[in-house]
Symmetry: C2
């Protein structure tokens, strides 16, 4: 596989992404709901982790979800069926060569996709054409530079930077969250607005200790260990120390902070 | 002066702290209000920047504000009088040797103080004795490790780390915010709860660009330049580059993020 670090391409990763989605559903999705009759394009649905809450929160809207991977598109299909959601259509397509007429969507939803693209502004410009004039966009991204924790640990920070470096080498940007405002503005959207969604975890919030600190964030970092060591970015022992220190932040006196960014904008009418 | 970096000890700093307080008043204080008749100890009031919103939000409570510096106590007095607040008494006292009977306060409020103390848990334990059983505490602290921005800049991060290092050398901890949960727990408070207060700034929020990015955060870092260069922590040119890069984040395509932490707990009855 060309980019072994990329999220979602094996079953353990797929389970991790589902854990993440259910833990973060309220935080990321509570304020996204589309009017009955609207047609929404989800660009880059992956294994459908965001498709389910998206469709559930807008029962009267039609969600068209596309992903470049036919395996992912198939998994999204199955998941949507399992959840009994009838308002989603899934298809395999490249978001840079979409098989749709321009201006045919009321809304574009794109979550955890820009972080993988070498030219995110260009991608937004291409996708904007599929939104009708007056229609809108919602973008959600994380930012690994927003992670800090107690006890602080240089080893843990180095382990995180391995993921950042691997993603960079594959043409992406794991610290893109903070940039949503300039990216959307540069792409030509109007009324751009960004709202940070901070995940704060201490031991009074055990569901986040499990669901976020351990099973979402640390599991993701742990998952790039082989790739990082193989690429010569870090020694195996150093990486393992960093991962241990990340798990350490999930103990009784530990604290973990991470911030997602949710941006919106309009295509001018 | 022993610790030239410490906040508040000259008039420019005092103005900066007032800018900060008025910009952040909503974010930090909106959910702090005490019942009529309650008696609140503000430990370490400094120049009164937090005293004013505290007293304004609890017009029926009596606020007793103390600071170890008589100049600061006097400034708080004047400010409170200027604001026409009649429910504040200010006195000069060392918070480790308070001239009060134990258990004589319903509530303890302590903001931007623990960051300066070598043994914050011990300080909390000492102060807890002045809260009546069943009474409560509110603690607010920043965390310089929570600062990140766009464009990212290693020079800007180095300039920030000068402030962290100076504060450390003086026995404090500029990254204490994330630790409020374990600190309050270790000190013996019950029902400890911490809520992060993130300041997110982009150019759609010009009042925060001015009031926070420039006049609060960057001005604070800029203010330690002489001390940092004098202490041999950084070269003058490097520091100035870092400060320029921080101001750069206040431009149209810039973004600045910082998080305060507000914690609360109870003294068991």
């Amino acid at each position: 596989m060309k980019n072994p670090y990329v999220h979602g391409y094996h079953s353990q990763e797929s389970a991790r992404l589902q854990d993440q989605a259910s833990t973060l559903e309220g935080l990321l999705h509570w304020d996204t709901s589309f009017a009955p009759g609207s047609i929404v394009l989800e660009a880059g649905c992956g294994v459908g982790a965001q498709t389910v809450p998206l469709a559930r929160n807008s029962p009267g809207a039609l969600i068209i979800s596309v992903d470049i991977s036919s395996a992912s598109a198939r998994e999204t299909c199955e998941r949507v069926a399992q959840e009994g959601l009838a308002n989603v259509r899934v298809l395999q397509a490249d978001i840079f060569h979409l098989p749709f007429r321009e201006a045919s969507f009321d809304h574009l939803f794109i979550c955890f996709v820009l972080e993988h693209l070498p030219r995110p502004v260009e991608a937004l410009r291409v996708l904007m054409r599929f939104i009708r004039p007056g229609g809108s966009i919602t973008v959600i991204e994380g930012d690994h530079g927003s992670a800090y924790f107690h006890p602080d640990s240089a080893a843990a920070r180095r382990a995180i930077s391995c993921q950042v470096e691997l993603q960079k080498r594959a043409g992406g940007n794991a610290m893109i969250g903070r940039q949503l405002y300039p990216l959307l503005s540069l792409a030509g959207f109007s009324e751009v607005s960004v709202s940070p969604r901070m995940v704060y975890v201490d031991s009074s919030r055990p569901e986040l200790v499990e669901g976020f600190t351990k099973k979402t964030f640390t599991a993701m970092i742990e998952g790039v260990g082989l790739a990082a060591v193989g690429a010569g970015i870090i020694e195996k022992d150093d990486f393992e120390e960093g991962v241990r220190d990340l798990y350490r932040t999930a103990e009784d006196d530990g604290v973990f902070c991470y911030t997602f960014f949710k941006g919106s904008g309009k295509r001018e009418g």
